[in-house]
């Protein structure tokens, strides 16, 4: 099991962020992580439980979020502690994340 890699904030790229969040599952996970401040394990997310996502797929999703620089993952016992790197990303790309999450929220509201 190779160690988890996190890009330093200055190496975070816009295209990687957009790509990561262009997947509705990943966007939902990230949004949920955003609203709930405390670290959460991969399988604890409501957006994950709702759809039935195979765990290998889930693992990939978290890797994409991680390597895009959006989240920080750390092993804590048997599970993973995932936290958003929002503050850093917001400082580097002001308004980017907000705009994206708002848009998703808006879209979700329409279907409600």
């Amino acid at each position: 099991m190779r160690p988890l890699t996190h890009p330093s904030i200055e190496n975070v790229r816009v295209e990687a962020i957009l790509h990561a969040l262009s997947d509705p599952v990943r966007a939902a996970i990230y949004a949920e992580m955003q609203s709930d401040g405390c670290p959460q394990s991969c399988s604890s997310f409501a957006s994950v439980r709702a759809r039935e996502i195979p765990k290998s797929t889930l693992s990939q999703h978290f890797r994409v979020l991680r390597e895009a620089g959006l989240i920080h993952s750390e092993r804590q016992g048997v599970e993973m502690r995932n936290t958003s790197r929002y503050a850093e990303v917001e400082q580097r790309f002001p308004g980017l994340i907000c705009g994206i999450l708002n848009a998703y929220r808006q879209q979700a509201d329409e279907n409600a």
Copy 2:
């Protein structure tokens, strides 16, 4: 040659926009279209001329932008008139495009 399809603004999806703009070439084209208000043909873009992009690839890029709802394309004689649908998109998803274009600009500045 099948007719060009443009989604109506209410059918525009965030994930499609993010996907479209997660490609640096498409993002550059769109940004350029943004800054220059008047309609431009596909091959007229500086970002296109700089890199040497095969025209079949270019055609696909424009299709992705079009079907994401980001641009409007219209045949005008032998060439294409492409215009940004920014105003509509901004109304539907306030701040989204701005955040993205700012982020790309910021990133470009760093490499300058």
